[in-house]
């Protein structure tokens, strides 16, 4: 599977709430950030968690967000950031 995003791309995390196991934290859903690293292709934790060890590998990225975008009442400094590993199927491009 070829990576859809490259470093520097603006992306948004899908606002989805599947009831099962996933590794996309609730707090970042719907938030916009920037791809800072393509970590490679990894098996999907949503498959592995239910015993499917041979599912397809999917691209995974580190996405950086501004803390002031992440939390409405963020009390720290304007330049503070958070970086999260997110699988490609959780991301959509942001039209900028």
């Amino acid at each position: 599977m070829t990576a859809r995003y490259k470093v520097g791309d603006a992306v948004r995390v899908r606002q989805a709430y599947p009831p099962g196991h996933c590794r996309t934290p609730y707090y970042c859903r719907g938030k916009s950030g920037v791809v800072v690293r393509h970590c490679g292709e990894f098996r999907n934790p949503e498959d592995l968690a239910y015993g499917t060890y041979d599912g397809p590998e999917v691209p995974m990225y580190r996405v950086q967000f501004k803390q002031t975008d992440m939390w409405a009442d963020y009390s720290g400094a304007a330049q503070d950031k958070v970086e999260i590993e997110i699988f490609e199927h959780w991301l959509v491009p942001t039209s900028s």
Binding site: M60, S75, G76, I86
Partner: protein
Amino acid sequence: MSDHHHDHSHDGYDVDPLHHHPPQPDLEDTPLTHHQVMQMAVAELLIEKEIISADELRRQIDFMDTITPARGARLVARAWVDEGFKSRLIANSKAAGAELDMDIGPIPILVMENTPKTHNLIVCTLCSCYPRFLLGIPPDWYKSRSYRRRAISEPRKVLAEFGTDLSDNVGIKVHDSTADMRYMVLPMRPEGTDGMSEGELANLVTRDCMVGVSVPGTTSAS
């Protein structure tokens, strides 16, 4: 975290992981908990079924005991005295570890360098992912509800609770270990350590510095 205060010295896991010796009379008042019984039962069943062996279990525990934050500290100290090594450590910690005959394990560990402008902090909000091959087993506070909840959203307050006050001129970058990477912080070398040997420098590097809740001082913490 733990509510088991009694002394488990009778366990002698390094000699006899399966406890086939009789119970000691002075421990009759401290029965094993439900989960401890379950642990022993599952381990014995797995051994009886030859899925694991007692020897493998013993060796795995011995191996885990060898993994301490001294490993991470050794990498940090080398990076402080060798700029080339520092670049290689940041680019590929697995290969850099191999230069020191250190296996950092199957999971990629990304080394995040603190600078005068950026301080890094590691958390796992979803469970307890931690760079175990460099720092060992995570401390209780790392796995605690409060740390998992707040390190991500109010890192400066959390750092202050560890006695670490950062100027607003320094940006904080929090890394949530959500998937297949692990993170270790490369702290800045403290001022006034010019004459120190690599070994002395390594003694300044605490586990907490490599998680990012603290910064190294100029005297050995050990």
